[in-house]
């Protein structure tokens, strides 16, 4: 494989990075937003529709973020304020948002529209090999790099990130220490949702330009699976996204020679995720990784303990 292939992998994984990291942020706070497959679709649609109507890609991306932010807010409101099961709300919203994207996106189907323009970074683009892979891309791709690094740094190396982990891990203890658990959960759910939306819009305005029904082809579920595969750790989640991107490209390249396998390869992340989980849950592996600090945490990748549970102070 040459640098150009790697560049394509990086570019094609970008929307997934946004969605999976966004969901990682949400789940770190202890909220599970299961609506990804629907809300990404809806954001892909609104993002494209706004960009198409206004001619502004930036506005389109913002609209995509806002859309999934609103969907995420419904999940948070249902799960936190109304105390309804987050899984139920997420699944219903998946269905609803999917259908809504088809309904409202009808007039934009298969129309040529604006897209994110390539912008090589001066100096960096000339780095041999890596320059072509990483720095002859578009601003969205650069932003995804930034998001990986900043989310990692924020979660594991800042005070507020510590609070974020705390509310997903032991909300009652965090609350007793004076951290406003539910307000923060609202914030991170909506923030994570906004990145999910950016992932959706990144499809229709960049990775798979344009809009059609079911445009993002199960990428929402894939993003959810990658969060687990990535052990709720931004770096490993990102690794999973690129790995998936690579599998996709390999599948594409095999299309002419091995058409059967090429059709089936896109499902590879799921068995991979399941086997990874089963492997990591084995007692031997658990006790082995316990011996290492940060690296062990990266490998073990345990879910936030209070994931999906409502916290009621009274």
């Amino acid at each position: 494989m040459n640098a150009a292939t790697f560049a394509i992998i990086v570019a094609s994984a970008t929307p997934l990075i946004f969605a999976a990291i966004g969901e990682t942020i949400t789940e770190k706070a202890g909220v599970v937003n299961l609506s990804l497959d629907g809300s990404m679709l809806l954001s892909a649609m609104t993002g494209f529709a706004i960009a198409y109507t206004t001619g502004s890609v930036e506005l389109g991306l913002l609209a995509g973020m806002a859309t999934s932010g609103v969907v995420a807010f419904v999940v948070a409101f249902g799960g936190i304020r109304l105390r309804v099961n987050q899984i139920a709300v997420g699944l219903i919203l998946t269905y609803f948002a999917t259908k809504l994207s088809a309904l409202l996106g009808g007039e934009f189907v298969r129309k040529p529209g604006p897209s994110v323009q390539k912008m090589s970074l001066p100096v960096l683009e000339d780095i041999p090999f890596f320059g072509e892979i990483l720095f002859q891309q578009n601003p969205l791709v650069y932003f995804s790099f930034l998001l990986i690094i900043v989310s990692f740094w924020w979660i594991f190396h800042t005070r507020r990130g510590l609070d974020l982990q705390a509310i997903g891990e032991r909300p009652e203890a965090a609350f007793a220490r004076g951290i406003p658990v539910n307000s923060l959960r609202y914030f991170y759910t909506v923030l994570g949702g906004a990145f999910v939306g950016l992932g959706g819009a990144a499809f229709s305005l960049d990775a798979k330009m344009g809009w059609s029904e079911g445009h993002i082809a199960n990428y929402g579920w894939i993003a959810l699976a990658l969060v687990i595969f990535g052990g709720w750790h931004p770096l490993r989640v990102a690794f999973g996204c690129y790995l998936f991107g690579a599998i996709q490209i390999v599948a594409l390249k095999m299309q002419p020679t091995l058409p059967d396998l090429a059709q089936v390869l896109p499902i590879a992340p799921f068995p991979l995720m399941i086997l990874t989980l089963v492997f990591l849950n084995m007692r031997v592996v658990q006790s082995f990784t316990m011996r290492f600090g940060g690296i062990g945490r990266l490998i073990r990748g345990t879910a936030p303990s209070a994931l999906g549970e409502s916290f009621w102070p009274d």
Partner: protein, 350 residues
């Protein structure tokens, strides 16, 4: 007083969903009266349409019956789609390989489909009980694996002669077709299977020791264990039975609707059934009218598209609005009631 309060909240939820639905109708410039008229006419206007409505009703009933079992055991079996696929694949295998009279072939298809779905469900269960993989993600994962399997079969070993397309396999021989009444697309046999399955589930859950233990496990597995119930065995049984019934939906989709294996064999009915069961609050009896209503909306969607030029997704949006408002509002009401009760009980938490 409780029932009254519940009714009030329910009425409120229905009102909300009506208002929101009308908003969406207005948004897509749908004529209200015609749309409402076509809802009934589209699904029941002619014998053919009634037949088609019932044809959609069948997989919804079966998938819902499957979910009622797993929900009763406290499980989120999102893997129902994959179990439908597994049932369809197993039934297609029988239809392709077994030669014999219609009665023999259909019987074997039903048995095979049940076993196929049950095994696929059991896989999710084993991953959950032994592998520590949450049933939601195990289920979603296996849904995709099932889809991959079906695509592989359709374009690979079971492809039509000389054509490697995702369009579907060769149609089954006539002995593997579910019989229909002249002029209608619905197979009475499929409808009978659906009702037998649903009634069996209701009977199982409400009238048998097994069902009672399953429900106890779903509500409080610690206390259920104290009553001498081996809870993880019951969880696995729920996956086997639920998966098997979902597999039957695959059988009827393959044998009574498409008469061959196609990649989109589940038609998304498994996922839609999750909404139905949430709306029915996991009760089998309520599944019957709600599933029929959802089938009605699905049929009306075709007519709205055909006659009024509206988008076919409109029906799905209305379904989503309805379920979302009812689940949110009723969940809120239950939460309040629960809080009041726990305040009265009081000092257990001291």
């Amino acid at each position: 007083m409780n029932a009254l309060q519940q009714t009030k909240y329910f009425a409120g939820a229905i009102t909300i969903s009506l208002v929101v639905s009308i908003f969406f109708l207005w948004l897509v410039e749908a004529p209200l009266v015609d749309t409402a008229k076509l809802l009934v006419e589209g699904a029941f206007g002619t014998n053919q349409r009634i037949g088609d409505t019932f044809m959609i009703w069948v997989p919804l009933l079966l998938a819902s019956a499957s979910l009622v079992v797993t929900f009763s055991a406290g499980l989120w079996n999102i893997g129902v789609e994959g179990q439908i696929v597994a049932g369809a694949v197993a039934a297609s295998f029988v239809a392709r390989e077994v030669q014999g009279s219609t009665a023999v072939v259909l019987t074997l298809m039903v048995i095979g489909g049940f076993v196929g779905g049950a095994l696929w469900g059991l896989l999710v269960g084993v991953l959950r009980v032994r592998g520590g993989v949450n049933e939601i993600f195990g289920g979603i994962g296996l849904n995709f694996v099932a889809t991959g399997l079906i695509v592989y079969l359709v374009i690979g070993p079971w492809s039509r002669d000389g054509v490697a397309s995702t369009g579907g396999t060769e149609p089954f021989g006539p002995q593997a077709w579910f019989p229909t009444i002249d002029g209608l697309r619905v197979s009475p046999l499929a409808l009978i299977i659906a009702f037998v399955a649903l009634v069996s589930v209701m009977f199982l859950l409400s009238k048998t020791h097994f069902g009672l233990r399953l429900r106890a496990t779903g509500k409080n597995s610690l206390a259920a264990n104290r009553f001498g119930i081996a809870t993880s065995r019951y969880l696995l049984m729920a996956f086997i039975i639920g998966g098997g019934i979902a597999g039957l939906a695959g059988v009827t989709q393959a044998g009574a609707v498409y008469h061959r294996l196609v990649p989109s064999i589940s038609g998304g009915y498994g996922f839609l059934a999750i909404l139905i069961v949430l709306l029915a609050r996991f009760r089998g009896l309520w599944v019957i009218p709600i599933a029929l209503f959802f089938a009605t909306i699905a049929m009306a969607s075709f007519q709205w598209q055909l006659r009024l030029g509206l988008h076919s997704a409109l029906g799905g949006v209305i379904q989503g609005v309805l379920v979302l408002s009812i689940v949110l509002v009723m969940g809120y009401q239950e939460g309040r009631q629960h809080r009041e009760q726990s305040n009265i009980r009081g000092n257990t938490a001291l």
